[in-house]
């Protein structure tokens, strides 16, 4: 699995949504129903599964599924 695929799998697992719902524009809080606890669970799972560290400053800019995928993309390039 590529890092992006792993990231999508993590988002699907934590949010409990179908992978089809994870369009780039989907917002974590508004569309995927994540509250702050869920959002943080997602961060930690991403860190663990991708073996990366996400700084608070970067985390603060992650609003949508697309934001996360772009962030992961920058890491792997």
């Amino acid at each position: 699995m590529t890092m992006k695929e792993t990231a999508l799998a993590v988002i699907a697992k934590v949010s409990g949504k179908d992978p089809e719902a994870l369009v780039p524009d989907a917002e974590l809080v508004a569309n995927l129903g994540m509250d702050s606890a869920k959002a943080l669970e997602l961060l930690v799972e991403l860190e663990d599964q991708l073996e990366i560290e996400i700084l608070d400053e970067d985390a603060a800019k992650l609003n949508t599924v697309g934001d996360i995928l772009a962030f992961v993309d920058r890491l792997s390039s």
Binding site: L28, V29, A30, N31, S36, A37, A39, V44
Partner: protein
């Protein structure tokens, strides 16, 4: 009253008279002298490493910071905002401001995910309301504020590193403080979306910490091998339960304390219970939500090897206590040695410094069936006893006409005692509306039976989601911005509760739109605004015709009524 209880009260009173430091600086000094080996450990953001300082080290670094803050040219008693995550920087800043004769005001730090404009708007609004000029925060906070166009951040935000580069004032001595004087401000939600600043005196803070530890049964300055060994907390320090319960209380009693950042706990609830087990922790406070999160997110087997049998007081307060959560927690963690009798309900609020009542019976959570003919509106079928008032504190239940009600009758909870605040800073109107003759009208509803307080709901419109208070206006304004209400309030926010989940937010929006497609678009935009700005998912968004939200003749929105219609399915 059983003799044992009488003795307890007598002992508590003599303890207070003999061992009570009367100012906050004195309390920290005493902790450094009386408990030189004990202190506070604070975990980093991921909960992997901690830095522990003993009380003498804590006093030393706070005093050094104070000596530098003293050179900033602030007015005496000028409020200074602290916007930092739980860390030694936070403690140095808060205590440095206090020890140099100013008023620390703890504000929530940057959100861990999707930090928003509203955060900076809020800090800016607090500065305006409290007429203060300085925010102690992180370089990241300043940078993000500037990126969002908040130019004030350039000069007004100070970082701990910058303070550390100042030359300490020569011959600096920390203030002694007077026990009756205001020591700091505590923020609580206000009806306009801008928080109110509750004025807390030295005496109020210390009385509350000491009276709480007496109620919990922590002996003052007990040797480390006695039962009060340590405390673990994930509560935010900008919240009364965190600041008083998890900082003032350990300092006045000489407890070892371990502090996790709230986001760290939210991401990994299991760390909380692991730390508890590994320090043989005896005392832990949390709102109901924390226990619920532990039940939902810690999987069987994840705590193998953790021993929770030392846990003597599991305080639960700051939001409605749900028997479902309590039972599920006992079932899940009983196998690790958790004793159901450790659950200790309590009731408190920022305007009382913190604690008002504690259930000191040591029998766990006790309930009464919901009184016939009442709808709590919070999905409760059983009402939890919050116990009786702490030392020197009175609780009465009042009818809307101001008359005291007999036991068993539901009315507004009113309180009086040393912990009751001095007023809202620079907000005479809000103060006189709720505080008279030392009696504070809490806005909470409940009844008294056998001297114990049972909470059933509240008269005020606040939503309490996960222990955080939110004023409905905050949500309504964002929604109105989307629908273009033209300054008219076109939406109503309230909370509902079903099962153990606790309160969830619902928004009713008036609109002339009828096309399904545009309504869907509108809903998406509203959810998105509220998600980005407040970080709150909405349980439901309901569109109604213009004029459907009930108002009084003076135009005041009647949220309780629309909420009832929603619950009854009449919208």
């Amino acid at each position: 009253m059983p003799p044992q209880q009488l003795f307890g009260i007598f002992k508590a009173m003599t303890d207070i008279l003999n061992a009570f430091p009367t100012t906050i600086p004195e309390a920290l000094k005493r902790a450094a002298v009386d408990f030189p080996d004990r202190g506070i450990g604070i975990f980093d953001g991921r909960g992997r490493r901690f830095e522990r300082r003993t009380y003498p080290q804590f006093l030393e670094s706070a005093t050094e910071t104070a000596a530098r803050i003293a050179t900033l040219g602030l007015q005496p008693r000028e409020p200074v905002i602290i916007a930092l995550p739980t860390s030694w920087e936070w403690l140095d800043a808060w205590w440095g401001v206090l020890l140099s004769g100013h008023w620390p005001v703890a504000a929530s730090g940057a959100g861990a995910i999707a930090a928003s404009e509203s955060q900076f708007d809020k800090v800016n609004a607090i500065m305006g309301k409290l007429k203060c000029r300085r925010v102690i925060s992180s370089p990241g906070f300043r940078q993000q504020a500037l990126e969002h166009g908040h130019h004030w951040a350039q000069d007004r935000v100070l970082t701990l590193e910058e303070i550390g580069q100042l030359t300490p004032q020569p011959g600096f001595r920390p203030i002694k403080g007077k026990s009756e004087e205001t020591a700091f401000l505590q923020l609580t939600s206000g009806s306009t979306g801008i928080p109110r600043a509750v004025m807390i005196s030295h005496l109020g803070a210390l009385h509350n910490a000491v009276a709480s530890s007496n109620a919990i049964g922590i002996p003052q300055g007990a040797p480390a091998h006695q039962w009060a060994q340590s405390m673990v907390s994930w509560l935010p320090l900008y919240h009364d339960m965190g600041l008083i319960g998890c900082l003032m209380l350990p300092i006045t009693t000489g407890l070892d304390a371990w502090l996790l950042r709230p986001p760290t706990f939210l991401a990994r609830p299991k760390l909380w219970l692991e730390q508890l087990g590994c320090h043989g922790t005896t005392f832990v406070p949390s709102p109901n939500f924390g226990y619920q999160l532990a039940v939902e997110r810690i999987r069987p087997g994840q705590l193998d090897g953790v021993d929770l049998s030392n846990w003597k007081a599991a305080l639960t307060g700051a939001e409605m206590i749900r028997p479902e959560t309590v039972n599920a927690f006992c079932d899940a963690f009983g196998p690790y040695g958790f004793d159901p009798r450790a659950f200790m309900p309590c009731y408190g609020l920022a305007e009382a410094t913190l604690a008002v009542t504690f259930d000191t019976r040591g029998e766990g959570v006790r309930t009464l069936p919901k009184p016939l003919g009442t709808d709590t509106g919070y999905g409760l079928t059983e009402i939890v006893s919050n116990g009786g008032p702490i030392d020197s504190t009175e609780v009465v239940i009042r009818a809307p006409n101001g008359r005291d009600l007999d036991q068993g009758h539901i009315g507004e909870v009113c309180i009086k005692g040393p912990g009751v605040f001095d007023g809202y800073y620079l907000d005479e109107q809000a103060t006189s509306a709720t505080l008279s003759d030392g009696w504070f009208q809490t806005g909470d509803l409940g009844f008294l039976t056998d001297g114990e307080l049972y909470l059933t709901g509240r008269t005020k419109d606040v939503l309490i989601v996960h222990g955080n208070n939110l004023m409905p206006d905050e949500l309504e304004r964002l929604a109105d911005r989307v629908t273009g209400g033209g300054g008219l309030m076109r939406s109503a926010a309230f909370s509902i509760a079903t099962g153990a989940q606790g309160e969830q937010a619902v928004l009713v929006v008036e609109t002339a739109q009828t096309e399904v497609e545009s309504l869907e678009r509108l809903e998406q935009e509203i959810r998105s605004q509220i998600g980005r700005q407040i970080g709150l998912p909405l349980a439901d968004v309901v569109f109604v015709k213009r004029g459907r939200i009930p108002r009084t003749s003076s135009g005041k929105m009647q949220r309780a009524e629309i909420r009832q219609s929603y619950i009854d399915g009449n919208l």
